[in-house]
Symmetry: C2
Subunit: 473 residues, 2 copies
């Protein structure tokens, strides 16, 4: 049977672009379908613009700390236009890199439009009246913000933003209700607050960026509650619009531990999570197994979508549509692997799944790496802790807030993982992830060079703490 | 023969305290002699106060960058008293920890005074009229600032400071000539300049904190010349005092590439290097081999001072007196090893010399780790470079200045070392040092998790660059 392409990749984000590139590198014909604008989530409304906003917030915040160092500042003013101008300008530059990359792909490989499956090898677009056939497919369609039911009645009011809308703003709002205290809610909520935006963060289950270790989570809650209007054990109970003259605001009501709260905001930033973008694909027309949410069931190692029959899957997944480690570098790895397996159909390989690494760019930062608390088995690990309150260098820089827990295997003495809320976690995260990949024991870690005075010395303290527990056993 | 102690440690700094502790841990009787005040160089006038001054400077500097992020600040004023107040207060806290440690040592082990050798087993203090005998000794007497000849005529004028005097100041001076562009000269010179002190740094041979890689050194020179009054290919030709009414100043004259310069300063900070503290020990009375500077010749592996006869050395060295890697964590390792070998006299062990790691806490930071440029052998290595000018995260944070060179072995593909002037080098330094200790190849490094967007992604760029060169070979 003849197909238009060997590999058809649906979705031109970070995962899809990687899958497409890999399929081509494997010598196959391939196409890349995008139903919207080119430009990845990362560059357009993810990693990059959020870090730009955080950089501005950090600048504003550092000024408030200057007096402790003996530096006096008269008046700080946040130029609400200028802040968003830099965020958008720099973001456009990052997006341009992505668009330039896509531009370099051959024209015949790029297809714009919304396509749905007709069968296991056929896509069709009603609007374009076009059919595309391929031997294999990679679904890399990403995810879409979840909208809580309570917000649905006001959706048409142009007052509920997701990150995509938010970074299109030309001026910082005066007040924001951030719904969600996960990674994005905490990052943007703190940044907005530090930029002088009246910000309230409302989340559930005491969540702080997905931390699971109870001690670390408790410390993170202490730290962020001290600084922020944070209600992260709450439930939004109502949200309605009030209009005064030409002014429109939203009143958000929430309940935390039985206490009712409500406040007015210029807008709501809804960051309560995401759902995989699969509904428009009409996967019911394929042999792919779907779960109760109509999402494909896939093999985490091969990235194949399992079939209802016994045949070899010809449809693969990659990136945020998997809802597994929704992080850029994982999306790229997944894209590469799905692209490889799609190109080498019937000779698929298992992935070498790497040490997970996740960082929340709050201040202090939040880190989860390797085996986190929820993966640990009772009796098989010890914890090494360091409280950063009195850690030398952290204190010198007035960054002495936080707690790190390192997990070590009792049997092998290997570093297993870590959870942390504390200074420079993004850098420690790489140190830990690499040490885990290279199978490093606590004894080896204690023999490593630790410069002085650095945050990393706190890691040694945590190792010594864990070693005490190990040596008693 | 009966001795007063098994092990006598001379010098209660970081190395000496480690040596003493180790000798005790090995079950020996030991004493610790200090001829001045308790408190290590690190805490009193080294790592800690310099990092405190740098933290203040960073605070002041970040304010000057705020406008790029959209933050407007009217007036910055450096409170010259308050800056030094925090430096001294926090320094006192760090010194107190050291003094508390010493306080916990048994009284009979602590000896204050200036002692000199009478023979291989005997020390004597004229002032105390006391003799101390020991089976073995550890010389951990540290080093003393070198004073260039041109400064000697004005030494009595109380206008030439070393770091020890400098951190006792109660107010930042208005102007400083920093003589020396090594680690300390660059760190303090930049910090003072950023704190509004009129600062000129005068050094030799284009030195920037000991960098050797010509490209990295050139980039560092570009970066620091842009910001600072830096004359680091110069020679101080004269320094003399001028007095006006009650005011005293120093005029410093220097020559750079044939051009004469001169300027007035409130004080000179002399950081031109150090000499080992051995002259008062009268080592001529022992069997220790002395070099042309009367400094003991020692074995880098065992830390034994070699003898003029064939006997086993009973005198060991540790710390800055060795003038080898004058860095706190090395001093501690040396102290521990010398203490161990002194305690286990005649059963000495070789050290496991670790990956060297050295960081200059300028902005951008300077890093040398592992095999640096001068240790590399032509034809045996490739370089991987990353220019930080367009590195994503660095640019987001406006830290996009610098160059990193990674060195890889052609034969083994192992990471050998790095030189760098760039952002967050202190953290990358640990990543590299640990990777070198764990024998990591370029291929393994490229498979490691790199989060997004982080400075560490620049490391991946450098690895890819090196891999291209390796793959051609």
């Amino acid at each position: 049977m003849e197909f238009d392409y060997d590999v058809c990749v649906i979705g031109a984000g970070s995962a899809g672009m990687s899958a497409y590139r890999m399929a081509k590198r494997e010598g196959k014909s391939a196409c890349l379908i995008e139903n919207n604008l080119y430009g990845t989530k990362c560059a357009t409304y993810g990693c990059m613009p959020s870090k730009l906003l955080i950089a501005a917030a950090e600048s504003a915040h550092s000024i408030t700390k200057a007096s402790h160092f003996g530096i006096k500042v008269d008046d700080i003013q946040v130029d609400r236009n200028a802040v968003m101008r830099r965020v958008r300008q720099e973001r456009e530059r990052f997006v341009r890199f992505v668009v330039d990359d896509v531009h370099d792909f051959p024209e015949k490989d790029k297809i714009l439009g919304r396509y749905e499956f007709k069968d296991d090898h056929t896509l069709y677009s009603k609007l374009a009246e076009r059919t595309i056939t391929a031997k294999t497919f990679v679904i890399a369609t990403g995810s879409t913000p979840f909208i809580p039911r309570v917000l649905k009645p006001i959706l048409s009011e142009d007052i509920v933003y997701d990150t995509e809308d938010f970074f299109n703003l030309h001026i910082l709002p005066k007040s924001v209700a951030v719904i969600g205290s996960g990674v994005i809610g905490m990052e943007l909520g703190q940044a907005l607050s530090r930029l002088g935006v009246k910000t309230t963060i409302i989340g559930v289950r005491n969540n702080i960026g997905a931390l699971k270790d109870p001690d670390v989570l408790e410390r993170a809650n202490e730290i962020f509650h001290e600084e922020l209007n944070l209600y992260n054990d709450a439930q939004v109970t109502n949200a309605y619009i009030i209009k005064e003259n030409y002014d429109k605001k939203v009143v958000v009501c929430w309940n935390e531990n039985g206490t009712e709260h409500s406040d007015e905001f210029e807008l709501i930033l809804n960051v309560t999570g995401a759902r995989p973008n699969v509904s428009g694909l009409e996967l019911v027309n394929t042999s792919v197994q779907l779960d109760e949410n109509k999402v494909p069931v896939f093999d985490l190692n091969t990235l194949e979508c399992l079939r209802i029959d016994e045949e070899s899957p010809n449809i693969f997944v990659a990136g945020d549509v998997m809802r597994y480690r929704e992080i850029l570098h994982e999306a790229i790895w997944e894209g590469q692997h799905a692209g490889y397996n799609a190109a080498n159909y019937l000779k698929v390989k298992n992935r070498n799944i790497k040490t997970p690494l996740s960082v929340v760019f709050t201040d202090p930062q939040v880190l989860m790496v390797g085996q986190t608390y929820r993966n640990l088995k009772d009796g098989e690990y010890v914890i090494g802790a360091i409280d950063f309150t009195d850690q030398g260098r952290s204190r010198i820089m007035l960054k002495n807030k936080g707690l790190l827990h390192l997990y070590f295997s009792i049997e092998t003495r290997l570093l297993l993982g870590a959870e942390m809320c504390g200074p420079d976690a993004e850098h420690l995260g790489h140190l830990f992830a690499w040490a885990i990949e290279k199978k490093t024991t606590i004894d080896e870690m204690l023999e490593m060079p630790f410069y002085h005075p650095v945050i990393e010395e706190g890691v040694r303290t945590a190792c010594r703490d864990a070693k005490k527990s190990l040596d008693i056993l």
